[in-house]
């Protein structure tokens, strides 16, 4: 078995570009095969599964491709779909709403998560229980979370709505008004995902050695100074990673929002992800949906090459970790 695995790795190595050649590093050993042994399974699984779907999306984005064969012939339209998208006000609206969603919800989640991580990073009575239970919203099935929020915000029988009215809020139909509906979906997301930030940041915090903090204290540093000069710099990779992970998930948010508002009222909560789904499954226009996906792909690549590379490239991460 071992020999079979090794020869498989050799084949892959030969298949890969010869730019990945042997180099002796300061670690003092020839690393020839080593990286590939570690990387090969991931590369095989992910690319084998996803390569066809990506090519499919690329090709189909240049076609008028109805989801069901019953709709008739699938025609090549070149850049027709992309052109149609640029002229589609719903498309730009959905992009705007999605970006707004990301830029409002995620910083709030980060703030809450960070504050909670700092607060709960000590062994008080019931600490472990609180830290576990706090994660429940993250575990909650998204479609159920959306339904619960929809239920809570209903006039007449929604408990949250009744509570708000008792506190003096005007009696409005939260999901029936475009602005409040958008706020509601953001609140739902913040509620659900700030404990995710908390968990990641907490795990990062526990990895900070006590000596560094004690050393800062001895130097006379107060809470804020400790925070800014010790904790945040050390935690920066974790902070950036958690924001990144949230962004890639927020780009795909669907069930919760769909179940709460179906994209309405009007198109007030028709996020990019919802609109893509609407095109593919609602209007049966897989070509358009694929064009939207490729569009998102391009944006993601630009995002990765600029912001991520600047703040999170592997060299930067290593620098920040002081390794």
């Amino acid at each position: 078995m071992r020999r079979k695995m090794s020869s498989k790795k050799l084949d892959i190595k030969q298949k890969n570009a010869t730019s990945k050649t042997n180099k002796r590093t300061k670690e003092g050993k020839a690393r020839g095969r080593a990286p590939f042994l570690f990387l090969a399974p991931a590369i095989i699984i992910v690319f084998a599964v996803l390569i066809f779907p990506i090519l499919f999306s690329l090709v189909v984005s240049t076609y008028n491709w109805p989801l069901s064969e019953g709709a008739g012939i699938r025609r090549f339209v070149g850049f027709g779909n992309y052109l149609a998208l640029t002229q589609d006000s719903e498309f730009w609206n959905s992009l705007k709403l999605q970006l707004g969603f990301i830029f409002i919800a995620i910083p709030i989640e980060l703030l809450f998560g960070f504050a909670a991580a700092l607060l709960l990073n000590r062994e008080f009575f019931g600490a472990r229980i609180v830290r576990s239970l706090l994660l429940l919203p993250v575990f909650f099935l998204p479609i159920l979370s959306g339904m619960t929020w929809r239920f809570m915000l209903q006039p007449r029988y929604g408990p949250l709505n009744n509570l708000l009215i008792k506190l003096g809020a005007p009696e409005i139909s939260w999901l029936g008004n475009p602005t409040t509906a958008y706020i509601a979906i953001i609140v739902q997301d913040v509620w659900r995902m700030w404990p995710f930030m908390f968990m990641l940041l907490y795990a990062g915090l526990t990895a900070i050695p006590q000596e560094l903090l004690e050393a800062a204290e001895i130097d006379g540093a107060g809470f804020w100074k400790k925070l800014w000069s010790v904790i945040i710099p050390l935690l920066m990779p974790t902070i950036l990673t958690s924001v990144l992970l949230r962004i890639i998930d927020a780009l795909r948010v669907f069930s919760e929002v769909y179940v709460m508002t179906e994209g309405g009222p009007g198109s007030a909560t028709m996020l990019f992800s919802l609109y893509t789904q609407r095109q593919a499954f609602g209007y049966q226009k897989v070509g358009m949906a694929s064009a939207m996906a490729i569009f998102l792909l391009i944006i993601s690549i630009v995002f990765a090459l600029t912001l991520v590379r600047k703040n999170m490239s592997l060299d930067v991460l290593e620098e920040k970790a002081g390794a």
Binding site: M1, R2, M5, L37, P66, L67, S68, E69, G70, A71, G72, Q154, P155, R156, Y157, E171, S173, L175, G176, N177, P178, T261, E262, G264, P265, G266, S267, R278, F281, G282, Y283, Q284
Partner: protein, 446 residues
């Protein structure tokens, strides 16, 4: 962690082997547990509501009688649409039987086996299409062929609170204020008067129960109002769907619905089926009157789920200035061309649409499409909605159906709701609907 246990083998070996083993074991386990694959199996795709769920109770009888095992996938209507689109082509299908909503028949017609080519049936004989109520039968017809058997009698039926209209105090009060007798509303004006009376006096939470949920449903309400005020929306002219709407009349219809929205329960702007049911059935005050799909009746009449079971009087919808109309929304059951189990699938349909099963379904408060089951005199007393549905069928109209209807439904839903909630003047909303619908039709090449 993992590495502790594999001292003898290299970690890689041990771990590489394990996932495969687990996966292999799981496949065996999964297959074994779900059941032995019997001689003949058919895969059926149902939509999710009380009717198919009720039918599922009876299916073991079919399986025993015929030896055909029925694998059921039951999903929400939009997902039924998606899965049918993805899974059924001329050459390949994951299902031997699919349920198709009437609006989607044009899309799938070319992929389905025409009814006249279905087998004669072994244990259950082929159903004569004429046993299906005529108003429903045309649902399954496209391009001159019957491509599926309509299987439920779903069209607007009107619900009104019996206890409210029979209450002597309200009767007297209403007569004094409005000059005519309280009763089941026969016209839109009566509906508005009575609803307003009950709403203004705080007797109900809503004088009228609108529907502002899924696009197809809102589209239904819009078409209902437009027809009732004298205009069609899209008609097939010269083989093309064409916009024929009379804007002025359509705006009248919208304005009237706007008035009805003012006496609707709080939160009506987003009321879908669940919220409507909550308002009508579980709210202590309830709603005075509204349309409903017969599929919901089972829940509304279930004393475990509804405070008003037994207190509902059913009728055909009230008449607008241009007449009485009811919107049809029937499901048909179709056999994909590519299936390898045509006869078994057909057998299942023949069993399902037989008089015996149809009567059993009626007994269980659901509404099949067989005329003889629906008009059976033994049910008229115990199932008061049946005569109402039969009456409604006289006025049945369908929503326009063509391939791009989904986009048009979205447009209508968006601006209809904006108009009726006052976010946009009805005139402007209607103009938007007209302009954008024209756009969609043009882009589709009509």
């Amino acid at each position: 962690m993992i590495y502790f246990h594999w001292e003898n083998k290299t970690p890689k070996e041990a771990i590489m082997k394990r996932p495969m083993l687990i996966v292999a074991l799981e496949m065996v386990f999964a297959i074994a547990l779900v059941g032995v694959v019997s001689a003949q199996t058919i895969n059926v795709l149902f939509w999710d509501d009380a009717y198919p769920r009720t039918l599922m109770e009876k299916i073991p009888e079919f399986e025993k009688a015929t030896g055909i095992k029925v694998n059921i996938e039951i999903l929400q209507p939009p997902q039924v649409f998606t899965k049918t689109s993805v899974s059924v082509t001329k050459e390949r299908t994951d299902y031997d039987l699919v349920c198709v909503d009437e609006g989607n028949i044009p899309l799938f017609a070319s992929l389905m086996l025409p009814y006249d080519q279905w087998g004669p049936g072994k244990i259950y004989k082929k159903i004569d299409p004429n046993t299906v109520t005529p108003a429903m039968l045309e649902v399954g017809q496209w391009d001159g062929k019957l491509v599926g058997l309509p299987i439920n009698g779903n069209l607007y039926v009107w619900m009104t609170r019996k206890d409210l209209i029979e209450n002597p105090k309200y009767k007297a009060d209403f007569k004094a204020k409005y000059g005519y007798d309280l009763g089941v509303p026969q016209t839109f004006q009566q509906m508005l008067d009575m609803g307003t009376y009950f709403y203004d006096n705080g007797i109900v939470s809503g004088g009228f129960g609108p529907f502002n949920g899924g696009p197809a449903g809102v589209f239904g309400e819009a078409i209902f109002m437009w027809y009732s005020f004298g205009t069609h929306f899209i008609d097939w002219i010269n083989g093309k769907p064409t916009l024929v709407v009379d804007k002025a009349k359509a705006v009248e219809g919208m304005e009237f619905y706007k008035k009805l929205m003012k006496i609707a329960p709080k939160g009506a702007e987003t009321m879908a089926h669940v919220e409507r049911q909550a308002a009508f059935c579980t709210d202590p005050k309830g709603v005075f009157t509204q349309f409903n799909w017969p599929a919901q009746i089972a829940s509304y009449e279930d004393p475990d789920k509804s405070l008003v079971s037994g207190k509902i009087v059913y009728s055909a919808p009230p008449a607008g200035p241009s007449g009485r109309f009811s919107i049809r929304g029937t499901w048909a059951v179709c056999i994909p061309l590519a299936t390898k189990n045509k006869d078994a699938a057909a057998e299942f349909v023949y069993w399902w649409a037989s008089k015996e099963i149809a009567s059993w379904l009626v007994e269980k408060n659901t509404v099949p499409a067989r005329t003889d089951a629906l008009t059976d005199p033994q049910f008229a007393k115990t199932k008061p909605w049946l005569p109402a549905i039969a009456e409604s069928m006289k006025y049945a109209v369908a929503r326009p159906r063509f391939n791009e209807v989904a986009e048009v439904q979205d447009i209508v839903k968006k601006y209809w709701i904006m108009g009726i909630t006052g976010q946009m003047p009805c005139n402007d909303a209607m103009q938007k609907i007209i302009d954008e619908t024209k756009n969609v039709l043009k882009k589709a090449g009509y």
